[in-house]
Structures are given as C-alpha cells and as structure tokens.
Symmetry: C2
C-alpha cells in the first residue's frame, strides 16, 4: 500500500474537534451537551447578511475575482477606517476564512524548515498550518499567572535564528482572551523591525474587547508597514463561521502580489459567502454593541462562577470569548472525554477543549481547558454547575482508582 | 524589508488569469471581450441549487462538519452509484473546490522534494499546488498529433524514482479535452500498483463526454482501492464555479484520515455553498443531457471553425470543454496580449489562455492556446471569425516588425 506523508502524519488532530466522536455517542445516548469547546457563537447573524443571500438574483454562480469582490474590498476599507486603520482596497485579499489568510501568509513568507515564533498557548490551528507548510513553530511560553500577557521581548529575542521569518500573535487572544496593549504591540513592532521579521497579527476578535480596554492593531503602527500582515475574518464578528470568508491585509506589495498567486491557484473565494459578508457591513452599529455587551455579561458570569469552584485558577480575559481555566486535575484530555462518555447531570453534560492542543511545548497546560463562552447566561450557569459537580465526582473517582491501583500493586 | 519565500517567488502566475489587467483595460476602452480563456460556463446553475439558497431558513451561519454535511455526503454516494462507482459517505470529504481537494491530497501523500508524474499539458494549477507543497512536477509529454492520448506507460516508468509518490491525471482532460479509455486507465492502474504509487484522477468534467465515448473512473478499478484518489467538484457539472465546493474521494482509510486533519485545521467548507451543492443533486437528468448536448454543438462548431483557418492545428476533444489549438505564430503569450491590447473587430476581441502555462517543460507549446468553448454558438462563430482576422493581421504585423528589425540591424 502506498504510504502517507510524514507531514500528514505530523498534522495534529484538532483539539477542538477530536472529541467529536465522544460527543456523537453522548447525543445518541440522549444527553444534552453544552458546547463550550468551540468558538461557534449562538448570536444571530446580521439579518442584512442573511437577506442578501435570500434575495440573490444570480442565474449563474460564477467565479469571482481571485482577490474577492472589488465592491466588498472597497467597503472593507471603510470598516478599517473606523478602527483607525488606513488602507486601500489593494491592500486586502479576500480569503476562504481566516484559515486561508494564514495559509497564504505562510506560503508567501516561509520555506520548509523556516521558523515562526508564537506566544504560547496559541490557536491550535497555527500549529496545523505550520505543519502543512513544513514550518517550525517556536513557542514563547506565557503564563496564566499574569493573565497570559506578552512575555518579555528578550524571551523572543533569544529564540531568533537565521531561520526565523515571523512572529505570530493573536490579538485579542484565542485561547487566552488576552488583549495586547499598545505598548506591547510597539515592543513587538520594534523587535520585528530590528530583526527584519514579519509581524503577523490574527485580529479576528477585534471587536470583542471589554471594559475600558481598546484594541490596537499592528496596522496602526506606521513604521511597521513593510512588516505587518493582518489575518482577519467575518466568522466571529458577525457570527458567520460557516461563511468561510476572511481576509489578509498588508501594505507590503511583494507580500500581497505573492499571496495573490496563491489566491489565483484556488481561483476565488466563495461567492454566496462574499455576498453575505459584504452585506454584513451594513449591519447597524447597535449589532456590535449588543453583541459585545452580551459577551461581557457572559464573561463575567463565567469567570465569577469558575472562581467559586475550589481549585480552579482562571485569568480574567479582556478580549475574544475564551478563557483558559486550570482545573484541579492532572489530565484534561481524559477529563474532557470522561465528561462526554461517563458523566451527566440530569442528562446534561459539557464539552470542553483540553488546552494541551494549544501548546506545542510538551507537558505544558495538561491540567488546563479552554472554555468558549458562546452560550447564553442561563446555559453558562448550568454549565458551571455541571463542571463543579463533575470535578467533585471525577476527583473522587480518581482517588478510588489510585487507591485500587495501590492495592493491586 | 523582510523577504518573501522562495516558494512564493516560484509560484506561477495563473496563465488563465494573468491577462486580467489587459482585459480590464480593453473593457475600459469599450471593447467587448469573448472570454474563451477561462472555464467559466454561461450555462444556468440548476434552479434547485439557487432556490435552496434563496429559501434558506438559517438564523446563525454556523460551521459545518469539517468533512461537510453528512446529508450531502450520503446523497453523493447515490450520484456516484449512477456512475458505477460504489463508495460510502465516509470515503468522501467535502472540500472548498476541487482546488482544496488537490491541496489536501498533496499534503496527505507528499513531503517537500517528492515527485508527482503528470501527463503534459496539464491544468496549470497542478503546478501551483505542487509549488505550494514544495513538490516537483515531473511531466510526461503528450502531443497534439495523437490528440494528447496517454503517453506509453514505459515513458512514465522511466521517470519513477524513490521520490515518486503519485501519478496525476485529469480525465477528461483540461486543457486537452482528451478522454482516457478504459484500457489506458487500466494501464495506469497496473503501473501504480506495481510501483506502489497513488493514482490521482481529477474527474471534475466526468459528465462532459461526447459521442459514443464513456467515462471510466479510477474508482471503478477494484484492484486500485488503496491507490486511487479522486478529485471532484460541482463547479463545471452544475455551472457553480463560484460555490467553491468539491470533494476528495478515496477508499484508502489512512489517506482519508490524514486529509481529515487538514480539513479540521480549516474548520469547514462554506455552508451556503454546501446547501446549493446538495440541492443541485436534485436537478433532473435533463439538466445534464441538455448541458452536454449544448457543449457538443459548441465543440463541433469550434473545431470545425478552427480547422478552416489556415495554419491552425487542433485535435478533436472527446471530453471536458477545452481544446488546445496550435496557431501559426511563435509566441501565444504575446498574441493573447496583443488581442486584448491592440486588436478588435468592430470593438470586439478575444481572450485566450496561452498554453505555455499548461506545460512545465520549457519552450513547449509556445505556439498553442487553450480555448474554452463556454460560449454560445453565435458567440463562438464570432470568436472564430475574430481569431481568423486577428491571425491575418498579426502575421502581417510580425512580418513588418521583423523586416524593420532587419533594416535596423
């Protein structure tokens, strides 16, 4: 039998989706699952987007421009302008999700064996896309104890080699919820310029910022024009994960011309999804305000609830809609499976994302989970209660197992 | 300034799309362009597909399963059964266009430096996707003189090295229009098994077969189960190029499990497009019959017309909706630009795809173009007339230029 590639073998299973078979079994058994494992919001997609697709007048579903609809890219410049980001439509390439923006970025700036430095924990698929491009992820560990703030720049500097091509951040962070300050971004910008590296910023959660915090984009750093590449997406902003529309934004012409060749190869981004995404820009300001207000309440509910469970450590996230929680257990992978496979409270249980998949360093974060607060407050409260009861039972069980093992031994 | 990758530099510009700026200029100058350069059919998309999207009842545009809608994959097994292909829904992975199916396939079976043997001329983007995966395309030249039939198997065998992972064919062929016979497929199957290679077949034009010919899929070869990977797409079948829905089909479990990891990384294929593609399966049999009948007339019109232009050589295509024509010129790239830039007949001109982009061997096919017969008969006749007049004028001009150069020298 012909063999699969080393690359294919090295591709990680999604830590977010690898529990799917256990979830399917739980559903078959009649359990209801609160899905805190995946950033799939329950928020309604703007009606403007949904109606635009409902009212389409197409007879032929044709290819679009490889860079995406010109009209859409033009309107996007207005969207960015509202965020103090000044770009032209030529600085934007519409992609099939933020995923493709990352794949094009990696393809445009890295060759096999090159390295990208990434603060850890990081969005698990950065590792997948790096593997796909045969690029090495070099992690800089950030810790729950200071809320996953940017590690000192000297920690990055230590890791720079002739193979280093870029630093990749997610701002605000998935899975940490950490929002980088203007000062932190400037430190990274200086570092990127000093060592002539690209600075890639995944800003798909730009709007999801709580309290008095403000998002500061790498595209606002004038001196960084040749180095900055932003990865963006409509998925979270408009609760349109299924659209699969994102974009890559850079003022570096060589980068954009190169990315365009990757874009031409795959012909075009999906047409219906572009229609929806362009129309979503017409959603009123109140859409964002209400959405963010909802998430703020959810965040507060979640963190407050988690902090009342003995043994849980959690940092207050200032952005996105995730947090990392450290649980009083040893193996979150096992716990997450057990929740689906063996546990329920009145036929209800939880799905969590074990945080191990968000670290590339071995044996880090094994007792952590990522929780996506994408459910309404009532369901979140129920989920917190289930987690509390589960931890009590799981810890008991573990104690028993250990005791039995001791006896056997 | 940080530099782009060698891979990025090596990525070819799309030969189909690189003329776009010249076309845009021509349109601005008020010229009408008959676009024979790209496989964008004018055929209407099935109303079933368009209505399914118009009538969608979604409130939240959510991620789908990474492998695509289960319901869609199940229905697809029925579609394949009609083509004597027996597979289960687990053998199908829904992708974002045939493009992504190829990218997943290459990722699953090749590592940087590996080789794939491809009969040449081939679909230009095979070269792009190989470059993206840092894989080497090893061409086997097929010639216009026997209509681009499969080169003798011994020609393939000569090129097999320890780095060879697969043979990739397009059946029926883009850009050649050649339909491989059952006997040719069997020869390739034997070769793949003998050398333990994957045989990848791009069958996106499966229905577009003319006369008494029949399509024979590699999936119909029982002995090839572990070696066969089919790349498929709804783009041409239902005139839904803008959907960006395709699939990868294989009975090799390791391949499918590996491809699934690539699929999970990019989360899911586009939701609206899946709704449309699933509904397209409900299109009546008459949709295919009428479409293929139209293309047959177009093919006959085109080939007949081309054969009446002095100096043109063309092979009768038995499938897909392309043909390669050899023109009485030296440089089809220059000619194609000139058509857009300097030539018109009553403000009408042509867009052709220079065939050089479909060859990886240097200096082959320089006088050839690919013509997509995706226009109605009347427009095709006009196009043929424009080509005839253009060749007369271009040849004259070239003679003058050469004469002037001689004088200068």
């Amino acid at each position: 039998m012909p063999v699969i590639s080393s690359k294919g073998k090295a591709m990680p299973e999604s830590p977010i989706r690898k529990l799917a078979p256990f979830a399917e079994k739980a559903v078959k058994e009649g359990k209801h699952i609160f899905r805190l494992n995946i950033g799939q919001p329950d928020i309604k997609t703007p009606i403007e987007a949904m109606d635009a697709v409902r009212n389409h007048k197409l007879d032929v579903l044709a290819y679009s421009h490889s860079a995406g609809f010109k009209s859409f890219r033009k309107k996007l410049t207005g969207y960015y302008a509202k965020h103090d980001i000044t770009i032209s439509s030529d600085d934007i390439l519409i992609t099939t999700g933020g995923s493709e923006a990352l794949i094009f970025t990696m393809g445009s700036i890295t060759d096999p064996g090159d390295e990208i430095i990434v603060p850890e924990p990081f969005y698990a698929n950065y590792y997948s896309f790096s593997t796909q491009s045969t690029v090495t992820v070099v992690p800089v560990i950030s810790t729950i104890d200071n809320g996953f703030a940017l590690p000192p720049v000297k920690e990055f500097e230590k890791l720079i080699t002739p193979k280093t091509k870029a630093i990749l951040i997610c701002n605000p962070g998935n899975p940490t919820g950490y929002l980088y300050s203007r000062e932190e971004i400037r430190q990274l910008a200086k570092l990127a310029i000093k060592h002539d590296l690209f600075l890639i910023s995944d800003e798909v959660y730009r709007e999801f910022v709580y309290g008095n915090s403000e998002h500061y984009s790498i595209l606002q750093e004038r001196a960084l024009e040749d180095h900055a590449i932003v990865v963006d997406s409509v998925s979270k902003r408009y609760s349109m994960c299924g659209a699969r529309i994102g974009c890559m934004v850079s003022k570096n012409k060589s980068v954009m011309e190169t990315a365009m060749k990757f874009a031409q190869a795959r012909l075009s981004p999906p047409t219906f999804a572009q229609i929806a995404s362009e129309a979503a820009l017409e959603a009123p300001e109140s859409y964002y305000i209400e959405t963010v207000a909802k998430y703020k309440i959810r965040r507060d509910t979640l963190v407050e609830g988690l902090r009342q469970i003995p043994g849980i450590k959690v940092a207050m996230p200032n952005g996105a809609f995730y947090c990392i929680a450290e649980l009083p257990i040893k193996d979150a992978d096992h716990f997450a499976k057990w929740l689906l496979d063996e546990f329920h409270v009145n036929n209800e249980t939880l799905m969590l994302a074990p945080a191990s998949g968000f670290y590339s360093s071995p044996n880090v974060g094994l007792n952590q989970v990522r929780i996506a607060y994408v459910l309404n407050r009532r369901d979140l409260k129920k989920s917190i209660n289930i987690l509390k009861l589960a931890l009590e039972k799981y810890t008991d069980q573990k104690t028993i197992v250990v005791a039995e093992e001791n006896i056997t031994l």
